[in-house]
Amino acid sequence: MELFAIAFSAIFVNNFLLARFLGICPFLGVSKKIETALGMGIAVAFVMTVASAITYIVNIYILETLGLGFMYNIMFILIISSFVQAIELLLKKVSPVLYEAMGVYLPLMATNCAILGVTVLNRDVGYNFMQSTIHGFAGGLGYLLAIVVFAGIRERIEHNNVLPHFKGFPIALLAASMMAIAFMGFSGWMI
C-alpha cells in the first residue's frame, strides 16, 4: 500500500514534469511528434528506474559507510553519465534495433534534471531500496505520460493559426500550463 502511494504520487500528484518541473528542456525540445516523445519518455523511464537503484546502493554502501555523504552530487552525476554511456555501447552491440529507436535520446540523459532530480529526491526523503526503485519507475512513467500527451497536443497546435509572437515556445508553454491545471486535480486525492 505504501509503495502504491509512492507510485501514485510520483505519477499523478507530484508529476515530475508538471508539478516538480524536472526535465523541462527535453519536454519542450523533443515533444513535436508523438513517436519521438514516446522514445524519449521510454528512455527516461528506463534510466530513472535503474539510476534510482544504483545510486541507492552506492550512496548507502559506499558513500555513507565511508563518511563521504557530502560527495553525493558529484558521485550521482558521474554514475548517471557513465551508466548512460555503458547502456549506449551495450545496446549498439546487443540490439541494433533498440539502439536505432533509443540511441539518439540516450546522450541527452546525462543533462536531464529529472534523472539527477529523482536520485537526489530519493536521498533527501530517505527512501529504502524498494521505495527508491518504485519512485524512480513511477516518476519515469509519469514523465512518459506527460510528454506523450503533450506531444499529441502540440501536433495539433502546429497547424493552428497562432498569434505571431506566441509561435514556438510561448504557445507550447501555455498548453503545458493547461495540462498542469488538469494534473492539479489529482492533488486533492489523499492516500
Binding site: 518541473f21 558521474l78 543533462t111 537526489v120 509572437h165 506566441f166 508553454l173 498542469a180
Partner: protein, 203 residues
Amino acid sequence: MSKISGISRIPRIFKNGIVENNPLFVQALGMCPALAVTTSATNGLGMGVATTSVLVCSNIAISLVARFLPANVRIPCYIVIIATFVTMLEFMLEAYMPALNQALGIFIPLIVVNCIVMGRAEAFANKNGAFLSAFDGLAMGLGFTAALTVMGAVREILGTMSIFGITISETFPQTIAMILPPGAFITLAFLMALINYVRGRTA
C-alpha cells in the same frame, strides 16, 4: 589574446549576456529552475545569484584547464568541475542562508545539470582566457538573475499581492494559481511572447 583587446570586448559580452542572448527568455535555457523556484521575487533572485556564482567559478576553472583536457572526455571533466563548485555552494548556503537553501531545495544540487552552465563552458570558456570567461559567466548569470527576478516578481504580485515579501494591496484579489505550477508556465509564456513582440518592434 592580449588583455587590452580583451577589456574592449567586455561591454559587448555584457550586452550579449543580459539582453541579446538572455539565457532564459531568448535561448530558453535553464527552464527547470526558472519555472520551479520563482514563486517569489526573493527566491528568483536567490536562485539567480546562486547560479551566477557557480557559472563564474566554473567558467574560470574550465578556461584554465580546457587546453589540457582530451577532446573526447572533456564533457565528463566539465561535469566534475561544475559539480565540485555546486557542492561548495551548497555548504555555504546551508551554513549561512538556511532559509534560502530550504526554499530552493533540490534545485541547488540540480545546478549541475543546468544547461546554461554547461552551455557556457562549451561555447565560451574552452575557447577564451580566464579573464574574459569570468566576465562572460557574470554577464550570463546576471541575465539569468534578471529574468528569474522578473518572473518571481510577476508571480508574487499576481499571486499574493506583495513583492519581496512586502504587501502591496490588502483588498485587491489574489490569484493563488499564479504561485502554483500552472502559473509558472503562464508567466513564462506571456513574458516570452512580450519579449518576442518587443524584439519584433526594434528589429
